[in-house]
């Protein structure tokens, strides 16, 4: 069958329209494909960000747990060390109170403390104060002290002082006092004792 001119013309019109329609749909499909690809990339970045954030938070949580454990252990260690050091210091105090009962060791020490106190006072006369137990030792102390310190007129107070041991030396008018008690020595040396104790016990 031979197509008429009119048929050819209408077929051209319809063919062109068909191509145009296909082109419109292809373009829409291409655009949507592109939009879909872009959206997927954006969403992927977004979700990766969420997961990455969660991982960072998780690492922080783990670090915090371990850090808190370290802190707890450190406190416990400090507590245990303090307990041991305190026990040692308590035992040193006990040793001091035992020492004052050991005449052979204590009297030379007390004599030395009195002698040093007198030197430190630097006066020609002095009043020596002792605790109740040591007041009974005055006769033997008098001899020992007078042998070592000849240039000072020494008087012995009859009023006992409250201390583990040692002495307080004062000027006769009481204005100057040199405290050489064992308690005072312990107190004065406490920071040094703590350092020494930690060094001996923990090698710090």
């Amino acid at each position: 069958m031979i197509m008429s001119e009119t048929d050819k013309f209408t077929e051209d019109i319809l063919g062109t329209a068909r191509e145009k329609a296909q082109s419109i749909i292809r373009e829409a499909e291409a655009q949507t494909q592109h939009a879909s690809d872009e959206a997927k990339a954006t969403i992927s970045r977004e979700t990766e960000g969420i997961v990455r954030g969660a991982r960072a938070d998780a690492d922080a949580v783990k670090r915090r747990e371990v850090s808190e454990a370290r802190h707890r252990v450190k406190l416990r260690e400090q507590h245990e060390k303090d307990k041991i050091v305190q026990d040692v210091l308590d035992r040193v105090k006990k040793r001091m109170s035992e020492l004052v009962a050991d005449e052979a060791k204590y009297v030379p020490l007390l004599t030395h403390l009195i002698e040093r106190g007198l030197e430190e006072l630097g006066d020609t006369s002095a009043l020596i104060h002792l605790n109740k137990v040591d007041l009974k030792r005055i006769p033997s102390l008098e001899q020992a002290v007078s042998k070592r310190v000849e240039h000072v007129k020494v008087e012995w107070s009859k009023e006992p002082i409250d201390t583990t041991g040692g002495t307080v030396i004062s000027s006769l008018d009481g204005k100057i006092r040199i405290v050489n008690t064992l308690d005072q020595r312990f107190e004065a040396l406490e920071s040094k004792l703590l350092i020494e104790a930690r060094a001996s016990l923990f090698g710090e």
């Binding site: 979700t47 041991i84 020492l99």
Partner: protein
């Protein structure tokens, strides 16, 4: 075919062509709408999955961190016990040393 008939045929063809293009444009709009909706759905799904994954990571981190902390603490406690034992064995020597410091009057 008469002239009038020919014109009618051509006008019909043009109407048909215009409809084809209109239909294609409608279809294109529908395609764009479908993809927008699909993208929204995909986004929601992927975000939900990511949030679930993030929640699982967080939950696991708490447990893992606790386990790691417990392990560290257990080891540290052992070390501390040794340290306490060693220090306890040195107490007598330390008492002796500190007592000597107090008794040493220079």
């Amino acid at each position: 075919m008469s002239g009038i008939e020919t014109v009618k045929v051509i006008v019909d063809a043009e109407k048909q062509a215009a409809k084809m293009i209109d239909d294609a444009m409608s279809e294109a709009t529908a395609i764009r709408k479908r993809i927008d909706s699909l993208i929204q759905q995909q986004r929601q799904q992927m975000l939900e999955d990511a949030k679930k994954q993030a929640a699982a990571i967080s939950a696991r981190a708490g447990e893992e961190g606790k386990l790691e902390a417990d392990k560290y603490e257990a080891e540290a406690v052992q070390t501390l016990r040794k340290l306490v034992d060693q220090a306890s064995s040195k107490k007598n020597a330390a008492v002796e040393k500190l007592s000597n410091i107090i008794m040493r009057v220079e």
